[in-house]
């Protein structure tokens, strides 16, 4: 179906089903229960997971396939956001033109930055992209203030032209919409003691994310994807096969830059403001961590990584000392304080420590990322736990059955 083989089609259908059911799946705990804080089914978080999923899937097209590690992809995210907000200021609050412009502008920037950066590979490429991203960040704060509104960030204003929407009524800012349906409108369903929120913005992001994911599958499976993997594997052989690797890497760079621009545009579509913070190097690092945590070079890995990180960020950073006091109030006073002190390092402001430990454990024990963990788990379930790796396979040629006679017999 849609040019995919049977396996990929069922894979895509599972992804679609999971995305559609996310508002239910992320709301497993009853309202008012102790564990309700671990519910992630609110629009803001779900939108972020979908958007950063797109960002990571795009990043993975470059990093996972060609092996070029860009440390400046957040620049395209920021550029996409600015472009989208400008479209909303000038043309219309409908998000479609905004997102299209975000992709085009970030694609152009990616072509220019990629053209220069791809002259080098390895660490030099990473440093060049990082330099460009930091340059964009600093310029957004300084010389480009007329375009970016500097530290305040680019925001909507009542006196923006918005040519297609006509004059604004009233004194409140218009909301982003898609053909009249507001992005922030939700339908709330109360059932089984839980509140499920079905948000227009989330489903819009989810729809785009599925499209982006579908395009990524096609790309991975195409001859073009094979060429990109060839670039990662052996550029020398590629050159001596009569292929110039550069246009292939540049195409991958532009495509992944456009994915980042799309994600930036969607961020602005959900919440119409754009700040230079989105271009900071920590944001570039975050997408690298997402991709590696989930599993670089796999289709599902980056989405999983983005989901896990955004979930940790939003849920763990909410757990402050007050919440911890509630949890551990059954302990004697002295012990309680010690336990709370320890847990507080990992929650609230300290959620980065949780992320760091998770990342460290995954990279050490599951170099292929969370996807590899899932794969091992399913293998364990299917084949039992005896075989741990290939050396446990029976191999009569190299490890013959021990003879009946023992030395000294």
């Amino acid at each position: 179906m849609f040019g995919l083989n049977k396996k990929d089609t069922s894979f895509l259908l599972i992804v679609i089903a999971l995305t559609m059911a996310t508002p239910i799946l992320l709301q497993p705990f009853a309202e008012g229960s102790e564990l309700a804080q671990f519910n992630g089914g609110y629009p803001d978080l779900m939108q972020k997971i979908a958007i950063f999923g797109i960002f990571a899937v795009g990043f993975n097209i470059l990093f996972g396939l060609t092996g070029y590690l860009s440390f400046g992809h957040a620049a395209f995210l920021g550029i996409g956001s600015y472009a989208a907000v400008w479209m909303m200021k000038l043309l219309t609050m409908n998000v479609i033109p905004a997102i299209l412009l975000a992709m085009i502008v970030s694609g152009l920037f990616a072509a220019a930055i990629g053209y220069v950066s791809l002259r080098r590979s390895g660490i030099y490429f990473s440093i060049l992209t990082l330099a460009f991203a930091q340059m964009s960040y600093k310029m957004a704060y300084s010389v480009l203030t007329p375009l970016t509104n500097g530290e305040t960030g680019l925001q909507l204003a009542l006196d923006d032209p918005r040519i297609l929407d006509g004059a604004a009524e009233g004194s409140s800012l218009p909301v982003t919409n898609i053909f009249g349906i507001a992005m922030n409108s939700s339908y709330k369903l109360e059932a089984l003691g839980r509140v499920f929120t079905f948000n227009v913005g989330y489903y819009f992001c989810a729809f785009i994310a599925i499209l982006a994911f579908y395009v990524a599958i096609r790309l991975f499976r195409s001859p073009f994807g094979m060429m990109l993997r060839a670039v990662k594997s052996n550029q020398q052989r590629m050159t001596y096969t009569g292929l110039d690797p550069k246009p292939y890497t540049l195409a991958a760079f532009v495509i992944s830059g456009m994915y980042a621009g799309l994600a930036g545009g969607l961020l602005a579509a959900m919440d119409p403001l754009a700040g230079a913070d989105r271009m900071l190097w920590t944001a570039s690092g975050e997408v690298v961590i997402m991709t590696i945590l989930g599993g670089a070079g796999t289709l599902m890995g980056p989405v999983l990584g983005a989901g896990v990180i955004k979930y940790l960020e939003n849920i763990f950073s909410k757990i402050n000392e007050g919440v911890l006091h509630d949890w551990f109030s059954f302990l004697p006073d002295g012990v309680e304080n010690v336990v709370i002190w320890v847990f507080a390092r990992f929650t609230g402001e300290g959620w980065h420590l949780t992320l760091g430990v998770t990342f460290m454990l995954v990279v050490t024990f599951l170099p292929g990322g969370l996807i590899e963990g899932l794969r091992r788990l399913s293998k364990r379930v299917k084949h039992g736990s005896q075989k741990r790796d290939k050396y446990d396979d029976p191999d009569p040629e190299h490890r013959p059955e021990p003879g009946k006679r023992v030395a000294g017999e």
Binding site: S222, P223, F224, M226, M227, R229, A230, K232, S233, N234, Q236, R237, M238, T239, Y240, T241, G242, L243, D244, P247, Y248, A251
Partner: protein
Amino acid sequence: MGILEVKGVGKRFGGLQALGDVNLSIEENTVHAIIGPNGAGKSTLLNCLVGKLIPDEGSVTFAGTSVLGRKPHEINQLGISRVFQTPEIFGDLTVMENMMIPCFAKRDGAFRMHAIESMEQEAELIAKAEAMLADVGMLEKREMIASSMSRGDKRRLEIAMCLVQEPKLLLLDEPTAGMARADTNNTIALLKEIKETRDITIAIIEHDMHVVFSLADRITVLAQGTPLVEDTPDNIKGNPKVKEAYLGETQQV
């Protein structure tokens, strides 16, 4: 007039004259071996032919076209394929994928998002790749990851990847270096078969005299960056100058 003409080629690395006034003519549909002691300039010469190095002086023409100043991938598009001393293959990819990449690479070398235009064309390319794999006896290994194979199999795969492009000239840089005896013999048999069944010129750089004498039609002996003699294998065997420069006093052929 040979298919590859090297005239007066020289190359210096700082104070070292790696190549000086090399003249070489490789006739079409022959196997031409280039031998010489370590440091004689064999690999430098080869690198000058494929565009990895640009000679300081002289000219290199392939089938009437100068290769100087062209990039390696452009030279490949002229019809020169190169096999490396250590097999250069796409290690992360399967054997079949390794074969498909040269099949996708068109002779004009232009960048394409869509390497194939239709399903029929794809089927055609797959059939071509499979036939080539069958020719080198690797069809049953098609789903293996290339880097997990033995040195001899990697070499076979590399040769198959070069041949599927139907080059006019195949350059081999010590194709049996670091191989077990059995693998060496298999490679010799494979190269002999290629020589007999295909319309191809082969230039081979080799240390192993066994390989050279079982394959070559012509041999050029390189010493200190210049060709010493060029002759048939039989005459080279008896040439005292070659013995002195290359084989040494103690070694017998």
